[in-house]
């Protein structure tokens, strides 16, 4: 019996102690009328057999193509030490660190993670993470609603449409008004973001770089929000954050991110990692797990889950959120990743990817009919206007083993010819040359 250790003899001894004749007697409380109508599952298979099935399935995905696909989720090289360390079963087979004395490993790692994220964003504090970048935006919005006791959100259309879609789902049952501020040719309309904030606004939510890759400074947007007693919320790309003006420098109240790019594989969409950091004055509104430093009875420094009175096992329906876990293992991976790269490694990585993207822009625009969507600064992802529908361009190139990016027209009107192209260190100049060559044959 896989994973069940009982010998026949032990089974009999245990049944005798319990005082029943057979295992089925343990289910006497389930009335016959409630028993399964059927349970037609396949027979169990050997471990080797199951592994072979998955090897087969893993081989049926297009992971051997050259890809410039990003759109908020990025392929990065992950140092093998990240896998080796997060793969220690002392980490991955533990549970939420309720018993602090036997969970210092997990607790200290989360404390260090909170520190690393706070420093990367230059915010006062961070939580232990939430599910993903989308739930982080929703939770940030709810923090703002509670902190300001106001019920309207101003959201830049440049925020990733995947996350705006989630926000819609999560707000469906709540009486919260969302105003979308349209982008201006792929850039944030800063004037409109300022004008849209009024006395009913709880938060203004922006993304940097935005979905089109455009980089901006939201300092004035946040200052205006503050003057109206609204909070400034910004979603960032953590790798680019190594070089970009920080949420703290811009005066944001809450900074969030999809943390996938920090040491998590793309994994067909999950598990991912929601990063959340905020100014100190909003700490009690911060949802999810938070680890704090504490002294033990001998005066030794250690770590505990803290501020638990915000959470659902105490506050139940009045909790700050229903989130009762964090993405602990993903957070650990992000921390190890950041520790291995350090300030220099992360900065150089951002610069390397920006340089690659500039090379791709140079090569593609040299073809004549391709041009950048706008002339604003961009990071390692860029929006290009093609002389043909981006959908068509992508599927034609994909057939040749190169996925050139994502079609912006999927989510935005009048963007049918716009391609979102991202470069990371998994790409190189030779790949970009191939892309340009293949594109040249098509355009």
């Amino acid at each position: 019996m896989p994973y069940i250790p009982h010998t026949h003899r032990e089974l009999q001894e245990m049944l005798t102690v319990v005082g029943v004749r057979g295992l089925d007697d343990l289910f006497a409380d389930i009335a016959p009328s409630l028993r399964p109508k059927h349970f037609n599952l396949p027979r169990g298979r050997s471990e080797a057999d199951v592994c072979a099935f998955f090897e087969d399935m893993a081989g049926k995905n297009g992971t051997d193509t050259i890809s410039f696909l990003g759109a908020g989720f990025y392929a990065h090289d992950i140092p093998k030490a990240v896998d080796a360390l997060s793969g220690r079963s002392e980490f991955y087979t533990a549970y939420t660190p309720y018993q602090a004395e036997c969970s210092q490993g997990t607790l200290q790692a989360i404390f260090e993670f909170q520190t690393a994220i706070s420093r990367l964003f230059e915010m006062d504090c961070a939580n232990a993470s939430v599910y993903d970048g989308g739930s982080a935006i929703f939770e940030a919005a709810m923090m703002a609603v509670r902190a300001t006791r106001k019920h309207a959100l101003v959201v830049d259309e440049g925020v990733n449409p995947v996350w705006r879609g989630m926000l819609r789902t999560y707000l469906a049952g709540l009486d919260i008004d969302v105003r979308i501020v349209p982008h201006a040719n792929g850039t944030s309309n800063l004037t409109a973001l300022t004008a849209a904030v009024d006395d009913s606004t709880a938060a203004v939510i922006v993304q940097n770089p935005n979905f089109f890759g455009a980089v901006a400074d939201y300092t004035d947007v946040f200052a205006n929000a503050r003057a109206r007693k609204a909070l400034g919320v910004i979603s960032v790309y953590p790798v680019m954050q190594a070089v970009l003006k920080t949420p703290g420098e811009m005066g944001a109240d809450i900074a969030v991110a999809e943390g996938q790019s920090l040491g998590q594989p793309l994994n067909f969409g999950g598990p991912y990692l929601g990063l959340m950091a905020c100014r100190k004055e909003h700490i009690r509104q911060l949802p999810g797990r938070i680890v704090g430093r504490a002294d033990d009875r001998d005066g030794k420094t250690g770590y505990v889950l803290t501020l638990q009175a915000r959470e659902q096992h105490i506050r139940r329906s009045k909790a700050t959120s229903n989130i009762c876990s964090n993405q602990a293992l993903c957070a650990l991976r992000a921390l190890i990743y950041l520790s291995l790269l350090g300030p220099r490694g992360l900065t150089r990585l951002a610069e390397h990817n920006m340089a690659l993207t500039r090379y791709a822009v140079e090569r593609l625009t040299a073809l004549g009919d391709v041009e950048p969507l706008n002339d604003v600064p961009y990071g390692s992802e860029v929006a290009l206007r093609l002389p043909m529908p981006a959908e068509k361009f992508i599927s034609a190139l994909a057939k040749k083993g190169c996925v050139p990016g994502y079609p912006a027209g999927r989510h935005y009107a009048a963007m049918g010819n716009v391609l979102l192209l991202s470069c990371t260190e998994v790409n190189n100049r030779a790949q970009i040359d191939l892309l340009a060559e293949a594109a040249g044959g098509l355009l």
């Binding site: 295992l23 599952l41 002392e90 602090a100 739930s135 009486d175 994994n267 067909f268």
Partner: protein, 478 residues
Amino acid sequence: MNTIFAKSVPGRCSAVIDSDAPDAARMLPPNLLRARPPRLPECSELDVVRHFTNLSRQNFSVDANFYPLGSCTMKYNPKFLEYVAALPGFTRLHPLLARLGDSHAQGALRCLYETERLLCEITGMEAFSLQPMAGANGEFAGVSLIAAYHREVGRDRRILLIPDSAHGTNPASAALAGFEIANIESRDGMVDPRALAAAIAAHQGNVAGMMMTCPNTLGLMETHLPEIVKQLHDIDALLYYDGANMNAILGKMRVGDAGFDVVHLNLHKTFATPHGGGGPGSGPVGVNAHLLPFLPVPRVEKRDGLYLLNDDFPHSIGHIGPFYGSFGVAVKALAYILRLGGEGLARVAEYAALNANYLKKRLEDVLDIPFERICAHEFVASAPEGLHALDIAKALLDRGFHAPTIYFPLIVRECLMAEPTETESKETLDAYVEALREIIAQGRDDPHALGEAPLTLPARRFDETAAARHIRITEDME
């Protein structure tokens, strides 16, 4: 132990890309750049490896310790699950690639499809969505489906009924979906149909549904289930199954057959995917036929032998997660189900119940057992008069056992809630009984000494009050 930041040495580095890229200042205008680099650790690879290896050794884990944490199902996580989930054909797959042509992700889509179909057969539900990213996220999805159902037929029902034994996430998730909560008091550890009838009458026409955990958090099967189902369905209210305790009923009861309308499962409990120190989990949501139109999109379908994503469900509640759920977790759950098969899954429930009942029986003369009847996969006990559950829990740590869940459910005095799971052997359970026996004896002798535990771990008990009054949640908050 010093933090990784304290071990940082300026100028030291390990993973720095070899690049001829110019500085950011030559690619972006200065007003868009940060003033100084992030203050991250500066370490060699060995510094990092040693730090995290030593940190890991300060943890209890299923691989090293018996971990009978009630309602958490800390069973053994087979090693081959890690292997299958780490296959590069999965880990390197961009989620949006499937949106650029179904042919790019046939293997991954098939894994999702098969997982959903198997979960349907296991639970008796009509359809599943793997999108919710954890148990509480699945709860939110489930109650959102209930809200969508009533909204669709033009009803504004505001109340969800929740038993007092429920997990705290139930009311929190319900509130998040805009519901008000009415508490149903338990009687003899179970939902009392009379209390339910009274609540339905008190909130006439306003009850949208009820959330139940079954077996409940006391480890007891709800013996009045058919009557509860009938009362709710008579007023077209929906019954929600919280899958926290699904390990208890695999192959013995299918919640769909029993009349539940919507269910969430915890793949990280029932289906052996590791808990990861608190996540990531996965909380698929399953529904009966009448809730099917509201499931999150996209849905995974199979047509003419091809697997595809379908967004065309106009009544859907929308996107609960960014893509298709915690794919890396779902793959492990699928591997576990395929490995065990139907017979193996039913055996899980049988041996989980055997281990729980054996442990309960052997502890009858050690702890106060409030419900003596046969339990499901877990049971509750109270610390003997004069002793505290907290002290017993800490003393267990000193003996190498993780503590059971303590002080939950709230309706049991000095509660210790233990779930041994099916993967533990008789000698482990016997050793745990002996440890508890010693602890109780010691506590009767010298309750003060028990209050000193633990003494053998990397840390002793913490001053949590001081930590909450003087908040230090990063290295920079002193």
